[in-house]
């Protein structure tokens, strides 16, 4: 067992974990944040995407011990405390970018990284950015539309929560 200290959505946590525990299991089962979804478990679908120190990662392909000392942001950390949706969440809502919603937490987290690195992406750049995230329902077009719509809310995006902020 090893002790890890992490900050998740601004709240500090300290736990003893087995080195082989995956970060997604730590978030879902130890901390109880079940918004991050386990889809494929094989690094391919992106449903488990979260941010570690500002970088989007697949939390099924990282051990919790590797996140020791890190600032983590999950889907639960995006909306304002009063429940106001984050502009990317809002864009997914208005563009009907989900059906079953299973892929959505990962899609929203990767959209945040895409727009931080490229605030005004072309459709091609959006599709390349979504490369590591699979959706079995929508056919992607509405997700692409949502990323574009979110990119138009520049001012709102400028006040994006940062991991640990």
């Amino acid at each position: 067992m090893r002790t890890i200290n992490v900050s998740v959505n601004g709240t500090k946590h300290s736990h003893e974990v087995e080195p082989r525990m995956l970060l997604i299991h730590y978030l879902r089962e130890v901390i109880g944040l079940t918004g991050t979804h386990m889809g494929c478990e094989t690094s391919l679908c992106g449903a488990c995407t979260i941010e570690v120190n500002g970088k989007a990662v697949k939390s099924c392909t990282m051990f919790a011990v590797q996140a020791d000392g890190a600032e983590i942001l999950t889907i639960e950390g995006l909306a304002a405390p009063d429940g106001t949706l984050h502009p990317i969440q809002d864009a997914f809502w208005t563009e009907h970018a989900l059906q079953c919603g299973f892929c959505t937490p990962g899609m929203i987290m990767i959209t945040k990284q895409i727009l931080e690195r490229n605030p005004n992406p072309t459709e091609h750049e959006i599709r390349e950015g979504l490369d590591g995230n699979l959706c079995r329902c929508t056919g992607y077009q509405h997700i692409v539309n949502a990323v574009r719509t979110a990119s138009l809310h520049r001012d709102a995006l400028a006040s994006l929560p940062k991991a640990g902020a």
Partner: protein, 284 residues
């Protein structure tokens, strides 16, 4: 999918890490190849040493006309480094072809070359760049050419207790034109074939040609026969076409559900020609 139990160490210095590795521990860098294998229990290391956080392996710097990339530098850092984009665009362009954003945020250049996947992207570019791979252990360091380092499928010249500490590539912008062209397997994103080309021309003739190929066979290789067929020849598309057609000669082309050996060999020629043309268009 839970890995077997293992001991985990996160040493604060390279020296401490090397001491643990000398005792038989296995390095963990970005984990983008090792963790999937551990989950499938294809790899069952008893002791992992996390070298992915060592600041001593995380740098990109220019020294004496060469660019040194620390083993811990992620694919995203390579793809977005202003120094590399300006002075060795081939390595940055190749990094951008690897996997997806999340994989590039974690995976490292040291882990990729050490893993030596027969479809990995970097090896093609590193062959074309005449790159050097620097290895370090408790005993000291040694510097190998790519042909000395990449030995076979998932097999390199690394000895037990030894790690890759850095990759050295030349300052290459200016007269040299480069390109990496990848035909990917859409589900995994890995290369079915990937061709890296680097060319220089003077007075209408090729003066330098380098070709690296990945994906075709069990090990990425430098296609010296294509290079030899072009150096000193006139810069014409017919010459490029004829030389590129040689790229699969003498290779044991792989066959799998995504591409038969015959189709792979065909693709290798086509993508080598594309890479050579694109590199030529970027050379002065």
């Amino acid at each position: 999918m839970i890995a077997n139990s293992f001991e985990y160490s996160a040493p604060g210095s390279l020296k401490e890490a090397l001491a643990l590795l000398a005792e038989g521990a296995k390095p963990l860098a970005g984990g983008m190849s090792l963790i999937p294998m551990m989950k499938l229990r294809l790899a069952n290391p008893e002791h992992l040493v996390d070298i992915g956080r060592l600041p001593e392996l995380n740098y990109i710097r220019e020294e004496n006309g060469e660019l040194h990339i620390g083993a811990g530098v992620t694919h995203f850092e390579v793809e977005s480094s202003p120094l590399l984009l300006g002075k060795c665009p081939l390595i940055a362009e190749t990094a951008a072809h690897i996997g997806d954003i999340q994989v590039r945020n974690r995976g490292t250049i040291g882990g990729s070359v050490a893993h030596a996947d027969p479809s990995a992207d970097y090896p093609a570019a590193l062959h074309a760049l005449d790159a050097k791979i620097v290895l370090v252990s408790g005993e000291g360091t040694r510097t190998l050419s790519t042909e000395e380092f990449f030995l076979d499928t998932f097999t390199t010249a690394l000895e037990p207790g030894e790690i890759v500490s850095e990759v050295i590539v030349p300052v290459d912008a200016g007269l040299t034109g480069t390109s990496y062209q990848k035909f990917l397997q859409p589900a995994s994103g890995f290369a079915i074939v990937g061709a890296a080309a680097r060319v220089r021309q003077e007075g209408g003739k090729f003066t330098l040609v380098r070709v690296g190929m990945t994906g075709l066979s069990g090990n990425a290789y430098r296609a010296r026969n294509v290079e030899d067929a072009l150096v000193g020849k006139e810069v014409t598309d017919a010459n490029i076409q004829a030389a590129a057609a040689l790229v699969a000669d003498g290779q044991d082309a792989s066959s799998d559900l995504h591409a038969t050996a015959e189709y792979r060999a065909h693709l290798a020629g086509a993508y080598t020609a594309r890479a050579l043309r694109a590199a030529l268009a970027r050379s002065a």
